[in-house]
């Protein structure tokens, strides 16, 4: 289990991010050593090895925010998803999300900002300035992945709308289209799915708007065409398939908090010290591993984001 101890918690890759093909062959070499059962179990027993085609996004800059932790495979990332609009089973989104129509993709921008209105995806995302960022993703269900996202910093998008001083929070909504999303028929949550961030969280350089992963445009199950990635918070904060951005003055209600306020809070920062009734959050299983690993405060991004919460009681504002 590799934990980042003596490394900076992030570094810019000297060359390029290791593509999955190389990483696979490295693993095959390791397996060639004829490890015993115990040692092999300690390694990545279940990692699926789907080959991945060459990128079709031009990527201007690549940054690795997950140290030397291994990437999860494209197959794992695109076949094991929580996206209840397509069904509550992990395999449902991959089964049904191909029906999602992402072109055209109008986004409604409302609230306390100078330039509100309806925008297209191309208005929001500068496809000539795409970055790759490798982040850990920690789900509240105590599993995690390492994912090479492609996208742009969220702050850059939000600044385009010139939010006013009254904009203290930003609120997002996912598409809720019954014809395309079979899961909406059951009221598992109060649709549409909604999430929110405090303005300073949203403007933080780590907050990211992804349009792709592994160099390719996002698939429906991962939140195509555009989804949030907030790596220091539990995965459900990283809202998918966004159709609405709303600048508001008061802390907005979020879907999971509305559903069960004692399990889910507005902040939902990854915090191994605050466990909730449903799960203990001290450890997590990296998808592909047999043994669990310790969960890191702020998912390992404390150096960068802890100052956002200075003086706050994180057990109270969970």
């Amino acid at each position: 289990m590799m934990l980042l101890k003596n490394r900076k918690s992030w570094h810019i890759a000297e060359n390029q991010v290791t593509p999955e093909r190389l990483y696979l062959s490295r693993r095959q070499i390791m397996q060639g050593f004829g490890l015993g059962l115990g040692a092999a179990l300690a390694g990545p027993l279940f990692r699926a090895g789907a080959a991945y085609a060459l990128p079709n996004f031009g990527i201007a800059k690549k940054t690795n925010y997950a140290g030397d932790e291994e990437l999860n495979s494209y197959k794992d990332i695109t076949s094991y998803n929580n996206f209840y609009e397509f069904g509550v089973e992990k395999s449902d989104p991959a089964k049904y999300a191909h029906a999602l129509i992402t072109d055209p993709w109008p986004v409604e921008v409302t609230g306390h900002a100078e330039r509100t209105g309806t925008y297209s995806l191309e208005d929001l995302i500068d496809f000539n300035a795409l970055e790759e960022r490798i982040y850990r993703l920690r789900c509240v269900e105590a599993w995690s992945m390492v994912i090479p996202w492609v996208g742009v910093p969220l702050a850059g998008i939000l600044k385009k709308f010139e939010p006013t001083s009254k904009a203290k929070f930003v609120r997002f909504e996912t598409l809720a289209n019954r014809a395309q999303m079979p899961g909406l028929r059951s009221r598992v949550l109060d649709w549409p799915y909604r999430e929110g961030l405090r303005m300073d969280e949203a403007m933080h350089p780590l907050a990211f708007m992804a349009v792709g992963l592994y160099g390719k445009p996002l698939l429906g199950q991962n939140g195509a065409p555009m989804r949030l990635v907030v790596p220091w918070k539990y995965g459900f904060k990283s809202i998918k398939s966004i159709v609405s951005i709303n600048f508001v003055e008061n802390q907005p209600q979020t879907s999971w908090e509305m559903q069960n306020p004692s399990w889910y809070g507005f902040y939902s920062n990854v915090n191994p010290n605050v466990s909730r009734q449903r799960w203990s959050q001290g450890r997590e299983r990296r998808i592909g591993d047999f043994f669990k690993r310790k969960t890191l405060m702020f998912n390992g991004y404390g150096d960068q984001v802890a100052s956002l919460y200075a003086g706050m009681d994180l057990a109270k504002y969970f």
Binding site: Q28, Q31, R47, D76, S79, K90, V188, Q259, S280
Partner: protein, 224 residues
């Protein structure tokens, strides 16, 4: 309506195989997974396993689901036999119940071995702290004496009355199993509610029957 020996045997095998299928399917998929994970290559031609990218979570849930289904199935045998007037069904209740116990045991084992890997501290605090797990463990504990005393020898040894008392535990276990599931649902899921509904229905039918029996018995006494 007497059943021939052949009918009884056929139904027995039919049930036995049917109930074991989910478990066989699970083992088969784990064989594919291990074969692929260790690059053994014996089973490559059979394709990829269906246990998702998180086989441990999938396995535990799969076993929990089937444990609950067979538990409720065994609980439904007596009322079904009465409603459809096929007394012979009661003869299969023990087998179905023991299979349900088997699934619950695998469910618990998958939690201890696969999910927690014998981290007893974590397991203990989970069972004490998380209400849904406290209930699950209670249900399992109550099932043990039922499984142990399921043989003819035990019925003789205990006497029918005491044996029946032990097996009345199912009236608690079935609701606990369904509530265990209901309490862990994160959203407003339908499935756990359906199971709760089934349990309530089965309890209701049994109550109805026992009330009917009582009035009949009372009427019988009055005319005698």
């Amino acid at each position: 309506m007497a059943w021939t020996k052949k009918t009884r045997k056929t139904l027995k095998w039919f049930l036995w195989i049917g109930i074991s299928l989910p478990l066989l399917w699970l083992f088969y998929n784990w064989a594919l997974l291990v074969d692929e994970g260790f690059n053994l290559g014996y089973l490559t031609s059979l394709g990829f396993h269906s246990l998702t990218a998180n086989p441990i979570e999938y396995t535990n849930r799969f076993l929990g689901d089937w444990a609950l289904r067979f538990l409720l199935f065994s609980f439904a045998v007596t009322p079904m036999a009465r409603i459809f007037k096929v007394k012979q069904l009661v003869a299969y209740r023990r087998m179905i119940g023991l299979w349900a116990f088997t699934y619950v045991s695998f469910h618990l084992t998958s939690y201890i071995v696969l999910d927690q890997f014998f981290d007893w501290g974590e397991i203990w605090s989970d069972i004490l702290k998380r209400n849904y797990m406290t209930l699950g463990m209670t249900a399992f504990t109550l099932l043990i004496p039922m499984a142990v005393t399921s043989t003819k020898g035990w019925i003789k040894r205990l006497g029918a009355r005491r044996w029946k008392a032990i097996h009345k535990a199912i009236y608690v276990i079935a609701p606990l199993g369904a509530i265990h599931y209901f309490m862990m649902a994160k959203g407003n899921q339908l499935d756990p509610k359906i199971y709760i509904g089934i349990v309530v229905g089965l309890l209701g039918i049994r109550l109805w029957f026992s009330l009917q029996d009582k009035t009949k018995a009372a009427a019988g006494k009055a005319t005698a």
